[in-house]
């Protein structure tokens, strides 16, 4: 019997050697440690339990603080910043309501494995557990939505907590880490040193890959008749797009992506199928049924990707490459697996594939792929309104430079964007894939713009989602972070309405939003720009204007409430049950 045993040990150097011991408060130690982590920007709102930190920040030039209008958005901005840049994003909130407001943002980052460090104030250690004013057990609350969380109890522990937080957030499978700073720890002085090391169990940045496995997997891939690649967010996180492309081209294997993987493979490539799953392309959802071997890289086989899992994996030999051991066999049983950082894994596989060389002829398979891609274009739901989102998105693609960053809200807008807006580069498509958080797109766009000030950033929104976080227009104007928001304004909670239309006999329960607000006036009230769009011509002009403006521009694009997103796989059904609407 195989015994499963884990003994991973990591010794992590904590900052530099020979650092002098300084007399510092915990707040100073925190900020100095953040500077040592090369933090450029913090998104946050101060409060009673973080004033000592803010007081010290007042004189600090190295870090830009962006004052947001709701802590949820501070977390989303840190998240957007991290996704666009690959660096760790930082957000900060006071104790109690400030901390709980972060929760949705932290959970969003957790589900999509983004590295963020959230810092919260806490009541003084002597008050913890007494239900003090603005006390909340944020350590307990966030235990299952963070990779780790830490509460230093004396100033001397602060540098270590910060180093640990950044290391854990960004190493192996990334994710959010929270540091909860009791107020007395911020105020008290201690003998602070930035020297030393920490021992971290349970974190293996790159496990050793079994060469024999690489060889046997390579042979399976070479012998496959109809190999198929599924690429997830792990490809983007590991910066493995180039390696992925090499393997795909070598094997002549088509690549479908999850929502999180979108951008990991250029969607103008002949072997790109676009996204797969509930709102996947016709070509991706059909072709996977014709595949014999599936190479799944950096994916977690979410239910939105696989549909019903039994039929997903039937007649499919599955190879799973991922850094997280717990993802192997969690949702879908893998026949073979490589536990490794995706970049290393793909690189090793590619070398081995080339080394062995001879493989099946896949001319027919490639022909079939291009045939299905053509069908994909043809099979489209008939447009309903005067202007419809798929065409608007194709237009938008033409109007934006290749490396422009697009974020989305959640609902039909997200599915349309995934299906019809082609993405060519990693980190240029940012969406809440796992948690499906309405209101994510706009603050994430602002965070992305802070990370990439020279790229245009566009949030593709629904009217319902945008209203959840639109107060950040104030942040965007005051902090001079101009983005473009394209609201597909259908006056309904469109995706819920679509489900009600398709699966609940058109019983439109609580989805009508009505005619308010006037988004053009709303934008202007905040000092941003607003433009109403009713034709394709309007849209073109408005996008161009938005890109020119040095203030955030909201495009209120009026579409029909009856519009559906197709293709769609009904919830809980197999990919075979895709509805095309065409």
């Amino acid at each position: 019997m195989e015994k499963v045993q884990r003994t991973w040990r990591r010794i992590v150097k904590l900052f530099e050697v020979n650092s002098i011991v300084e007399e510092l408060t915990g707040a100073e130690a925190l900020v100095k440690a953040l500077i040592r982590e090369r933090v450029e920007v913090i998104f946050g709102i101060p409060g009673g339990a973080t004033i000592p930190i803010y007081d010290y920040l007042y004189d600090v030039d190295e870090i830009r603080h962006i004052l947001v209008r709701h802590e949820q958005c501070a977390a989303h901005m840190a998240d957007g910043y991290a996704r666009a840049s690959g660096k760790t994003g930082v957000c900060m909130a006071t104790s109690g309501p400030g901390a709980t407001n972060l929760v949705t943002g932290i959970a969003t980052a957790y589900m999509d494995s983004t590295p963020i460090v959230a810092i919260t104030g806490q009541v003084p250690t002597s008050m913890i557990g007494k239900d003090a004013f603005q006390e909340t057990d944020i350590i307990g609350i966030t235990a299952s939505i963070t990779k780790h969380n830490i509460q230093p109890v004396k100033p001397e522990e602060v540098p270590l907590a910060v180093r640990k937080a950044f290391y854990i957030a960004s190493t192996s499978r990334p994710g959010p880490v929270l540091i909860d700073m009791p107020k007395d720890v911020q105020i008290k002085k201690g003998k602070i040193s930035f020297e030393g090391e920490i021992r971290l169990h349970s974190l293996c940045s790159n496990p050793k890959v079994d060469e024999k496995k690489v060889e046997s997997i390579s042979r399976i891939l070479l012998n496959a008749e109809t190999p198929f690649i599924l690429a997830g967010g792990g490809v983007i996180k590991a910066n493995a797009s180039r390696e992925l492309m090499k393997i795909s081209e070598f094997l002549r294997a088509p690549v479908a992506t999850t929502f999180m993987g979108k951008g990991g493979f250029p969607e103008n490539h002949e072997l790109s199928l676009g996204p797969i799953g509930m709102h996947g392309t016709y070509a991706a959802n059909r072709l996977i049924r014709e595949a014999d071997v599936l190479l799944a890289v950096g994916v977690r086989f979410s239910d939105r990707t696989t549909g019903e899992t039994e039929s997903f994996s039937s007649n499919l030999e599955i190879i799973h490459v991922d850094i997280d051991r717990a993802e192997i066999n969690k949702n879908v049983r893998a026949d073979h697996s490589l536990l490794t950082d995706v970049k290393t894994g793909l690189d090793m596989l590619y070398r081995k594939l080339r080394g062995i060389g001879s493989q099946k002829n896949r001319k027919k398979w490639v022909k079939r792929v291009s045939e299905m891609k053509e069908n994909s274009e043809r099979i489209q739901a008939p447009p309903i309104g005067k202007i419809n989102p798929p065409r608007l998105l194709k237009l938008l693609r033409k109007l934006l430079p290749e490396k422009a960053i697009v974020t989305t809200e959640v609902g039909q807008n997200q599915a349309w964007a995934a299906l019809y807006f082609k993405v060519y580069h990693p980190r240029t498509f940012i969406t809440s894939g796992g948690l499906g958080t309405m209101g994510f797109g706009f603050p994430a766009a602002l965070g992305a713009k802070v990370a990439k000030p020279n790229e245009p950033v566009v949030d593709i929104a629904g009217d319902g989602s945008f209203l959840m976080t639109c107060q950040e227009l104030a942040t965007s104007v005051r902090e001079e972070i101009p983005v473009v928001v394209v609201i597909f304004n259908n006056r309904v909670l469109g995706m819920v309405a679509q489900w009600q239309r398709l699966f609940y006999g058109r019983r439109y329960s609580q989805v009508n939003l009505g005619e308010t607000p006037d988004f053009v006036k709303l934008a202007k009230a905040f000092g941003a720009e607003g433009i109403r769009v009713e034709t394709y011509e309007d849209f073109k002009e408005a996008v161009k204007e938005g890109l020119r403006n040095n203030v955030t521009t909201v495009l209120d694009v009026i579409i029909s409430p009856e519009e559906n997103v197709f293709p769609m796989v009904p919830p809980g059904k197999s990919l075979d049950d895709m509805i095309t609407g065409g």
Binding site: R6, S144, L200, H201, S202, D324, R325, A326, I328, R333
Partner: protein, 165 residues
């Protein structure tokens, strides 16, 4: 096939660690039967869990637990080669002297101990495998049990026997 397995975790001996482990188990919907914790030295503690599930589930438990920063080592014990023990304290009703001596006889047979005697009850202490304890409780139940406190299983793998394979 569903089996009951024993999982042993060596964890950091710090406040909050038990919370993290049990929180993870609850959140992932794992079906833990028993869990025991005890300090090993000033740095580490040992947790022993029994859990029911298919092999994939057991592997999931181990893999998920191993991701907690406070977990140093986690593994599934080889049951064929593992010593399992549980301790129970049982308060039994005593009606008269005759039943008292009957009960004490039972306790002797099971190699248990009487740790407290009062006019209306006595407390028996017993250690052994869960099966043995179940049988013991069953036997005493005819006298009337007032309270039972069981520790849950703790376990340890044997080393290879001298000269054994």
């Amino acid at each position: 096939m569903e089996r009951e397995e024993i999982i042993e975790a060596i964890v950091e001996h710090r406040p909050g660690v038990l919370f993290r482990v049990s929180n993870l188990i609850r959140r992932r919907n794992f079906n833990i039967e028993t869990i025991t914790v005890g300090r090993v030295n000033h740095e580490t503690a040992r947790m022993t869990m029994t859990i029911k599930g298919e092999r994939e589930i057991i592997d999931q438990v181990i893999n998920q637990l191993s991701k907690l920063m406070e977990v140093i080592k986690v593994r599934k014990l080889n049951q064929k080669n593992t010593v399992k023990r549980e301790l129970a304290l049982i308060k039994v009703k005593v009606n008269d002297n005759l039943s008292r001596s009957d009960i004490i006889h039972c306790i002797d047979v099971f190699r248990g101990q009487v740790v407290d005697v009062s006019s209306k009850s006595l407390i028996a202490e017993i250690t052994g495998t869960p099966d043995k304890i179940n049988a013991f409780i069953q036997l005493l139940s005819s006298y009337g049990i007032k309270e039972v406190a069981r520790t849950g299983i703790t376990a340890m793998e044997r080393d290879r026997k001298l000269g054994g394979s």
